[in-house]
């Protein structure tokens, strides 16, 4: 038996509120499956499981706020048979708040709380068991399309959501202003805590390097001229890929620092995404050094869409081995970043701009960009950091090879 507990999704997370179970007792789970949704300071996060087996029992009810480490479910491993679960232990907890349950579910769906419920039974049973009744096909499709099942009125038995119901579900509107304000305030607290910890504990050093981005700019414009909007690339994809490839070579900037520095073989690039209205989150794009540019672009699109929809996965918040922060096309020239612990480096890209540059003795207009590195002196020093930034520069001179 394995106990599935409330995970820590960052050094500063203390608790999370369970807003949805995506499995029920009897379901088979394997490593990496998304089994629940938890509301945190960083929004609603899809929680992955790291055990394999059968869900024996759910120990937490939807709506409960639980500290990190609190048991959420019991997983019976393959080969294990008996269900030692004293049902009585789980029962009262789950049964206790049936009256409040619909309200408790609300955070999951800041949306259509007022959906017409001809028969209250489905809603109640959904809240009671913690699972929105839905056909497996609908559940799968909803997950793929990022649709919140609780916001869809089901037409199946007992109000279950069927595949056909999904198309009637409208995209979720923005949360009401008050919720949104509160959400942003919570996120600001999370950012403040993480950044304070970083500045308190990490001896940062900073390097800046101005790089000629003309080759990459020209290549990108030519490539995109041949592509429809769906296939176009953004400069951000080139910057991310170049950083990831360079990070794979400069090992001392890629990894985690706990009791000493542990370099990571894989490069999972945290990609800082600004939230509209304020706030910032840097979900990890896994194996970013090995993705093609098209795959990098697809991963960035996917992550940004899910940041906006508030549906990131737990591993995306914890797996990052280095962070990339890009100020976009119309921002300021350079940034000095703050490392996101337990990582040891952050690469910043200012806004590219056309500037007078000297090429072969002539002053010519070139598109230039300022790279910066915030490095952790416990893991690396400026000499290695400089090599890392010039590696990125070299890679950006040959965009075709990226």
């Amino acid at each position: 038996m394995g106990v599935f507990t409330m995970p820590s999704l960052g050094a500063d997370m203390e608790a999370g509120t369970l807003v949805e179970w995506l499995v029920a007792p009897g379901d088979q789970v394997k490593r990496g499956d998304v089994v629940a949704v938890v509301e945190t300071q960083k929004g609603a996060i899809e929680i992955e499981i790291f055990d394999e087996g059968e869900v024996a029992r759910l120990d937490a009810a939807v709506g409960q706020k639980l500290p990190v480490g609190a048991p959420l479910a019991l997983i019976r491993g393959a080969g294990e048979t008996a269900a030692p679960a004293p049902e009585a232990a789980a029962e009262p907890e789950a049964a206790a708040p049936p009256a409040e349950a619909p309200e408790a579910v609300a955070p999951a769906a800041p949306v259509e709380v007022a959906k017409p419920a001809p028969e209250p039974a489905p809603a109640a049973s959904a809240a009671f068991g913690g699972v929105i009744p839905a056909s497996p096909a609908a559940r799968h499709e909803a997950r793929l399309r990022g649709i919140d099942l609780s916001a869809v009125a089901g037409s199946g038995p007992g109000g279950a959501v069927r595949l056909a119901d999904l198309d009637r579900g409208r995209p979720r509107p923005a949360p009401p202003a008050a919720d949104r304000g509160q959400m942003l305030a919570e996120m600001r607290k999370a950012i403040a805590a993480a950044m304070s910890k970083s500045k308190r504990e990490i001896p940062h050093y900073y390097l800046f390097h101005k790089v000629d981005l003309q080759a990459a700019t020209d290549w990108l414009a030519a490539a995109n001229a041949q592509r429809g909007p769906e296939e176009r690339l953004l400069m951000g994809a080139l910057l991310l890929k170049a950083t990831a490839v360079a990070a794979a070579r400069s090992k001392a900037v890629n990894g985690h620092y706990a009791d000493g520095f542990t370099p990571s073989k894989a490069v999972h690039a945290g990609f800082a995404v600004a939230m509209r209205g304020g706030g910032l989150i840097a979900p990890a794009i896994r194996d970013a050094d090995r993705l093609s540019l098209d795959e990098t672009m697809a991963a960035m699109r996917d992550v940004i869409a899910r940041v906006r929809a508030g549906r990131l996965r737990s591993s995306e918040l914890t797996d990052g081995t280095i962070t990339v922060s890009s100020l976009g096309e119309n921002g300021v020239g350079a940034l000095a970043g703050i490392i996101y612990p337990p990582q040891v480096a952050l690469v910043g890209f200012g806004a590219p701009a056309e500037e007078p540059a000297v090429v072969a003795g002539q002053v010519v207009p070139r598109t230039m960009i300022t790279l910066s590195l915030a490095g952790d002196h416990r893991a690396s020093d400026g000499r290695l950091g400089a090599k890392f930034l010039t590696d990125i520069e070299t890679l950006l001179q040959d965009p075709e090879a990226l």
Binding site: N224, A225, P229, E230, A274, R276, R301, E329
Partner: protein
Amino acid sequence: MTPDDIRKAFLEELVSIAPDIDPDTLEGDEHLQDDLELDSMDILNLVTALHKRLGVSIAEEDYPRIETPDKAVAYLAQRLGG
């Protein structure tokens, strides 16, 4: 499509990308990036959505021609009419 239809389509796609924008108070001369704070991914998603919806593929060099709602409606009307 009338200019009103085009404006409606443009605003719907804009709001689906940035749900906090209120189409009723949006001015026709507000700049997508400077005033509404769309980033390059938002602009690309908007252009992609307009391509799907209206069948107009907007080249990158034409992005300045859709930088405000008014400009975008005029540009799209021209593309759809020609």
